[in-house]
């Protein structure tokens, strides 16, 4: 299995405050990678660096090297919009647009220039099926997305991200705002999705990381403390700090 993302010696500052220290990581393709660690450890910041969402904050400064399939994502000729098309994102709080379900999913493809109705229909259906929500919404595609339940909204957001056919899906604590049943549905869905996509997921919930991920990275105070197979990290952590965290001694 090849690595789709390779990060070398990456540092990130918010103004004068260094939020990430010397991060090195290789994320394998078509797998689920979980980022765990206490709040404020930098895991979300790091996730948002991968599709350059941090660019939007003016005071952010980044050094080091991040490669997506061997291409430097900060390269001069890189178009950030096409990067984000390749690397999609699902947010912590479900954030469907205040439009119809159909328009939500069609938003991405339309943005990228697809106007043909039949083609759009097909993309929308496939994305909704991939996100395991098609059966629930197929009769009300024209209804406003804000009328759905929280869990449905989050799956719609996943469908919306899938509709632009990304290679990677970044998920920033995608279940933290959801109830247990919705959470388990999303977890099942994520495990399905790894057959087609690479998933990188920030989670607060260690059980979730253990249940769904193949690899786990543990962050602490802006450092990547340990990264490896999820089973190894949870059964025989190499670093004392990792052990303390997963055994619940802090965090």
């Amino acid at each position: 299995m090849s690595n789709i993302i390779t990060v070398k010696d990456m540092n990130l500052w918010y103004g004068d405050h260094q939020a990430l220290h010397n991060i090195n990581i290789e994320i394998p393709e078509k797998s689920i990678t979980a980022f765990i660690g206490p709040s404020g450890c930098g895991k979300s910041t790091f996730l948002k660096t991968l599709n350059r969402m941090n660019d939007l904050i003016p005071s952010v400064k980044i050094t080091g090297d991040i490669r997506y399939n061997d291409a430097d994502i900060f390269g001069k000729d890189v178009d950030v919009n096409s990067l984000r098309k390749e690397i999609g994102m699902v947010f912590q709080k479900p954030n469907p647009f205040p439009m119809s379900i159909y328009d939500n999913v069609a938003y991405g493809p339309r943005t990228h220039g697809i106007t043909n109705k039949a083609q759009l229909d097909e993309i929308v259906e496939r994305a909704l099926r991939d996100a395991a929500i098609w059966d629930e919404v197929k009769d009300r595609l024209k209804k406003n997305a804000l009328g759905m339940s929280g869990g449905q909204q989050q799956r719609l957001c996943i469908a919306r991200a899938l509709a632009v056919q990304p290679k990677i899906l970044l998920m920033d604590e995608p279940t933290s705002a959801l109830d247990p049943i919705s959470t388990s549905r999303i977890e099942e869905l994520v495990m399905e999705l790894k057959n087609k996509y690479t998933i990188v997921m920030v989670t607060h919930n260690m059980q979730q990381a253990l249940r769904v991920s193949d690899n786990t990275a543990f962050f602490l105070l802006g450092e990547l403390v340990e990264f490896g197979k999820t089973d190894d990290i949870f059964s025989q952590p190499k670093d004392k700090r990792t052990e303390d965290y997963i055994t619940g001694r802090f965090g």
Partner: protein
């Protein structure tokens, strides 16, 4: 103890009365306008009054048709909206989403200033800059025209439109915009395809507010529109609005002519009420 309770009740009653003053004022205004506006309409005839094409209040055989005023007010307002809304809307999107905080605060101060300038000052500048300008540019005998009024009104409604649109656009949750950016849309695409639709009720309210301002403006229009009761057949026609029809004859009118002026005010009032209802509709939707 009893005395205290009495005082509390009395004070409660006083405040209740104060609270009801606004309601009383609205009722008073409505009743006065209706009572003083109805007689002339009755005498002239509803259809002749509203749809009469000729206004000649001081002729030996006076004619009281206010269609020219109604149409002028509608055309003038529509023209102001056509020019003012795009400019105001685009300015609002720029200030709300793209401008640096410094530019935004300076421009907001400038827009507030624009809102605070008295209408007679707009009228004065219009009289001395716009009216001669139109005469020269379009080579017409007199620049005091519908076009001049439209331009002045467009400028005068800009601040309401900009301010209200900015409020609506600023209130769009950042999560929507983040989601759009994460899908590979550019910031500008995001603003127009996500932020603007999400703020559409507020922006619609801004437009309606602009309509209200434009249709109610009297003094500035009085100074630049030429004030002749013509049908508004062309942009360069000297015209009279509903508002200016009232103000231009009020000081020397009497009898039926004066009553007819009150009827015009009543018509204007009804227009405004209609606009208020529409505005409230959009504002309520914006809140949801």
């Amino acid at each position: 103890m009893k005395k205290n309770q009495f005082i509390e009740k009395l004070i409660h009653g006083i405040f209740l009365l104060l609270g009801l003053i606004t309601v009383g004022c609205v009722l008073l205004i409505t009743v006065y306008l209706v009572i003083s506006g109805i007689p002339a309409i009755k005498e002239i005839g509803f259809v002749d009054f509203l749809f009469g094409k000729e206004w000649a209040s001081t002729a030996s055989e006076p004619k009281y048709g206010i269609l020219p005023f109604i149409l002028t007010s509608i055309y003038g307002t529509a023209g102001a909206i056509i020019i003012g809304v795009p400019v105001g809307f685009m300015t609002a999107v720029y200030l709300s989403k793209m401008a640096s905080p410094k530019v935004k605060s300076v421009m907001q101060a400038a827009v507030s200033l624009l809102a605070g300038i008295p209408s007679v000052v707009y009228g004065l500048v219009g009289m001395l800059v716009l009216v001669p300008g139109i005469r020269k540019v379009f080579n017409v005998p007199d620049g005091a025209s519908l076009l001049a009024a439209i331009i002045v009104l467009a400028i005068m409604i800009l601040p309401s439109i900009i301010k209200m649109s900015i409020t609506a656009l600023d209130a769009v949750p950042k999560e929507y915009e983040d989601a759009s950016l994460a899908l590979g849309a550019t910031p500008i695409e995001t603003y127009f395809k996500v932020s603007v639709p999400a703020a559409k009720s507020g922006i619609a309210a801004a437009v309606v507010l602009g309509v209200g301002r434009a249709i109610g403006e009297a003094m500035a229009v009085m100074m630049v529109a030429g004030n002749v009761p013509n049908m508004p057949d062309s942009l360069f026609q000297s015209v009279r609005f509903l508002t200016t029809a009232v103000s231009s004859e009020m000081s020397y009118s009497s009898g039926l002519q004066r009553q007819a002026l009150f009827s015009i005010a009543l018509v204007l009032f009804l227009f405004i009420m209609l606009i208020n209802v529409t505005l409230n509709f959009f504002l309520k939707r914006e809140k949801e």
